[in-house]
């Protein structure tokens, strides 16, 4: 074997590995899902007890006139001792009727509803929260604070299901299961509804089993007073992911963060691709900043027993680096195709067999975890990876069916079969990267032609997962070019329906 052959062989092995690395994020995800089955035994329920601390519900509000009244009314009907519950709305210099609505509620419920107003606002949620926290920490009434968003609706038993975990003094904070609550028919709402089963109900149970939490949901985070004081009495204002920073710092201080999956909170999420893109870009940039800020945490179990775990680190980075993994996979497949088409095919087939197994397991399990949401998002569950990827999964499962389809198309279009196979193969090899471009086009269309049906159609083709990857990639670009951190508020319309 001469040197050139050896180099080419080594190069081919490297390319094959790069393709197969594309399966790692799904495998990590599948391992996380496997842990959920242990949650019935490895949980925090053996440490709960009746516990009703004096809770201040902190609601940041900026032009939330459409939702704030109903939110406050609903909070006052929670199953919780009335003398131990206080709703504090921090009005962030709203210019709509928010101040009037909140002042009216405060007048009708003296001592139970408090209206705080910032005369100069618009700096973002963390600044608004800090205004309220400073007020709450200035006296000793508050024993715990529930941080939420103005649009979220708590089921009546949700707060007391969360506070029962505070009976354990090692718990610093508790979060709940946020569900997409508008139940709208918009494609994006349905995708988000399904996504939240995987990202909240499933992933956070798995994190409970691992003993580490990635993020307290922004609309449902209950902190004991001690924990807030240990955090310096304020929420981080330097990143766009203040919830994640709070979560990490809480655990770094040696406190536990617990997810209570039976405390349900309904939230209104973006209904169109443009609004979703803005929200997720903020999250993606925040997560990149958190990754850098806590760089001494990852894979250092001795130093950080909770956050330094291997599985936690792998799951964090598999999401953060997924766009790069997908681009590397596609590029490697195309180069392999030029060097050794049969090896390229084997690598591609191996990757998609793994994808098939993990996709079927995760999708079937997710739909059963929350059947009420699952029933109305079945289509979005199967098309989460997109129509093209779903077709590749079916073709991987039933190659004869794929071959028959190619024959039919070849006949209908009167195209030479070999040429058609070559085109389909190259398209399939490119798709891991190409799907993100199509997803990005969905956002471009949504911004330029609001209301266009093309945007959601492109999401169905490319996949909601591809859309999230494209946003993450955009997050890299924004961070690399040092783009200004801006707080793009998600507009809420009060569509949340209590079910």
């Amino acid at each position: 074997m001469d040197l050139t052959t050896a180099l080419v062989d080594t190069f081919e092995v490297v390319l094959t590995l790069l393709v197969l690395i594309g399966a790692v994020p799904l495998v990590i995800s599948a391992i996380q899902f496997l842990l959920i089955g242990l949650h019935g035994w490895r949980n925090h329920y053996d440490r709960v007890a009746p516990c009703y601390p004096r809770v201040a519900v902190l609601v940041p509000a900026w032009n939330e006139g459409a939702v704030i009244g109903a939110t406050v009314d609903r909070l006052l009907t929670l199953d919780y001792p009335a003398d131990r519950l206080r709703v504090v709305v921090v009005d962030d210099a709203s210019t709509d009727d928010t101040p009037d609505v909140v002042a009216d509620r405060a007048r009708r419920n003296p001592g139970r509803v408090v209206h705080l107003r910032r005369e100069e606002g618009g700096q973002g949620k963390a600044h608004t929260l800090n205004h309220g926290l400073a007020e709450l920490l200035s006296d000793d009434w508050m024993e715990a604070v529930l941080i939420m968003d103005a649009d979220v609706i708590y089921r009546r038993d949700s707060l007391r299901k969360m506070t029962r975990h505070l009976a354990d003094p090692t718990v610093g904070a508790v979060t709940a299961y946020i569900k997409e609550g508008s139940q709208a028919r918009a494609a994006v709402n349905r995708f988000v509804g399904y996504e939240y089963i995987t990202a909240q109900a499933a992933a956070r149970r798995s994190q409970n089993v691992q003993g580490v939490m990635a993020c307290l949901a922004g609309g449902a985070q209950l902190h004991r007073r001690d924990n807030l004081e240990e955090l310096g009495g304020r929420i981080d204002t330097e990143t766009l992911a203040e919830d994640t920073v709070t979560t990490f710092q809480t655990q770094r201080n040696g406190r536990r963060v617990v997810f209570e999956g039976n405390a349900v909170v309904l939230a209104e999420e973006p209904a169109d691709v443009a609004a979703l893109w803005r929200q997720r870009l903020r999250w993606a940039r925040g997560n990149i900043a958190v990754t850098r800020r806590f760089s001494d945490v990852w894979f250092r179990r001795r130093r950080e027993p909770r956050m330094g775990g291997i599985l936690f680190g792998l799951s964090w980075f598999s999401i953060l680096l997924l766009p790069l993994v997908m681009i590397a996979g596609s590029t490697s497949l195309l180069v392999l195709y030029l060097l050794d088409p049969s090896l390229a095919w084997s690598a591609f087939h191996g990757l998609w067999v793994i994808n098939l197994v993990t996709f079927v397991f995760i999708t079937a399990f997710t739909l059963m975890i929350d059947p009420s949401v699952g029933r109305r998002t079945v289509v979005e569950a199967f098309l989460f990876p997109g129509l093209v990827s779903f077709a590749i999964i079916v073709a991987t499962c039933f190659p004869a069916l794929a071959s028959w389809s190619v024959d039919q198309v070849s006949e209908i279009l009167s195209v030479d079969r070999t040429t058609l196979v070559r085109i389909v193969t190259l398209l399939a090899y490119s798709w891991l990267a190409l799907c993100m471009v199509v997803a990005w086009l969905a956002k471009v269309v949504a911004v330029r032609r609001p209301g266009s049906r093309l945007s959601p159609a492109l999401v169905y083709v490319a996949g909601y997962g591809a859309l999230l990857c494209a946003v993450t990639f955009a997050g890299y670009v924004e961070e690399l070019r040092g783009a200004e951190m801006t707080w793009d508020r998600t507009v809420k319309t009060g569509k949340v329906a209590v079910s």
Partner: protein
Amino acid sequence: MSNQIPDETIEDETIPDGERIEGIPTRTEFDAEVAADVRTERRLLAYELIALALVVALLVVRQLWLL
């Protein structure tokens, strides 16, 4: 999660039966509610096994198709 903290540190604020507060469970109701939530969590293992069984069934069908 492990039980590193002795039970006596748990802050139990059980509402006495004679002081019933609207919407707040008594100790018996509280325990029943926790038990129900634990059962909900344990049911997830069954769902997980069903999902795994679906994967196995799909792979078997695929192998039979390939034969």
